[in-house]
Symmetry: C2
């Protein structure tokens, strides 16, 4: 257990370092869903006291990566199929909104930046799935930012990364990852206004590449029953 102590790069605060470290362990799969995280044990492991660890755990809890069983401890959150669908259902609404706003506020510079990100993804070859997830997230975060509404951005940032933390993209296979990465070109076309799809359609198609029924807990799943009012 010669786990590198956390003090290496002297950064702002130990808490932040521990947060990054633990998140990394979860995302990379070393801490598995359902596993219990012991404060003292982590403190010994990271060579810090329990306080920064404790605060890091509560932060990750707020972000939804951990479950808290009071006076019992923190557990790595296990995301059920329904949870994933519910998150994606909210995501559809918010990302569609972000696409519209990004389209309305687009500048040449922003367009170039988004294009660079898309090209980067199209050039992805046989890299690791983790890299793919990172590239994916980079693009999404970029157009969230370009919505010019930082609350929209913040909301999406607190919602979406959890999905990627559970290896959602691992199991869908290499060619699907490839397809998904390429599909960001379609999103960019929506932003540029050169697409025939509505933002809702585009983001729905985009999510369907990696998930089953991502719209299941959204109003899109109800409109056929209820009528076209919504």
């Amino acid at each position: 257990m010669e786990s590198t102590a956390v003090r290496e790069l002297p950064s702002a605060t130990l808490k932040a370092l521990v947060v990054d470290r633990i998140r990394g362990e979860i995302v990379s799969g070393r801490y598995k869903p359902g596993e219990r995280l012991n404060e003292s044990k982590l403190a010994r492991e990271f060579k810090v006291s329990r306080i920064p660890v404790r605060e890091a755990l509560t932060k990750l809890h707020e972000q939804g990566l951990l479950m808290n069983h009071p006076r019992r401890g923190m557990f790595v959150n296990t995301l059920s199929e329904e949870d994933t669908q519910k998150i994606n259902s909210v995501r559809i609404v918010l990302e569609a909104e972000a696409l519209k706003l990004c389209r309305a506020k687009l500048t040449k510079e922003r367009e170039r930046h988004l294009d660079r990100l898309v090209v980067g993804m199209e050039q992805w070859e046989r890299g690791s799935e983790l890299d793919a997830a990172a590239l994916d997230l980079d693009f999404h975060k970029a157009f969230w930012t370009y919505s010019d509404n930082n609350y929209l951005e913040r909301t999406l940032s607190s919602l979406v990364p959890v999905l990627l933390a559970h290896h959602a993209l691992d199991s869908i296979g290499h060619e699907l990852v490839r397809w998904r990465l390429n599909h960001h070109r379609a999103l960019l076309e929506v932003i540029q206004g050169t697409s025939k799809q509505t933002p809702e359609e585009a983001i729905l198609v985009h999510l369907r590449i990696a998930y089953n029924s991502p719209e299941r807990f959204s109003s899109l799943a109800c409109t056929t029953i209820i009528g076209q009012r919504g």
Copy 2:
């Protein structure tokens, strides 16, 4: 300074009590926007150690009620006009979605509950503005819950209460508060499907009662310029 110690009602954890207490002080306006909150001072005031206070502050920070200037302390967040508009712009999208879902998942029992809440608001007479805000929030939280998507509910819960924490309803006058409370009947009719308004229209009208241009940073503000695609 005879501030009641916090140990009165023996609840789950001191941290939770301190969170509620501080949030109350902010909402009630005793801690003013921009004011600095001193850990030690609060600890003495509440007769607890700094740890629960510290953790409470970080929690309120995550919720957006406080700003954190690292190694400097926590400050009561000051919400600009733009911030309010940005939050409301996200809120429109999410609450419209919640209305649609609630409509699709409506049961007799839920309908009765929502109706009771509306009646309660219609009977509000010359109570304090704080009570009005509480009633308001109760109704909204109810139909968030009835969307049957707890992630949608959580997202709204992390976004909306901040608005009410800054006396947004104080300055709009008694008759406007009355009007706003009564307008929840319109939202209920949307949920019941007996309204001629779309959910988006209804929630937009609803927010316009208390706020200026709540849609300013949403796609609704862009459609007239960009076209009817969105």
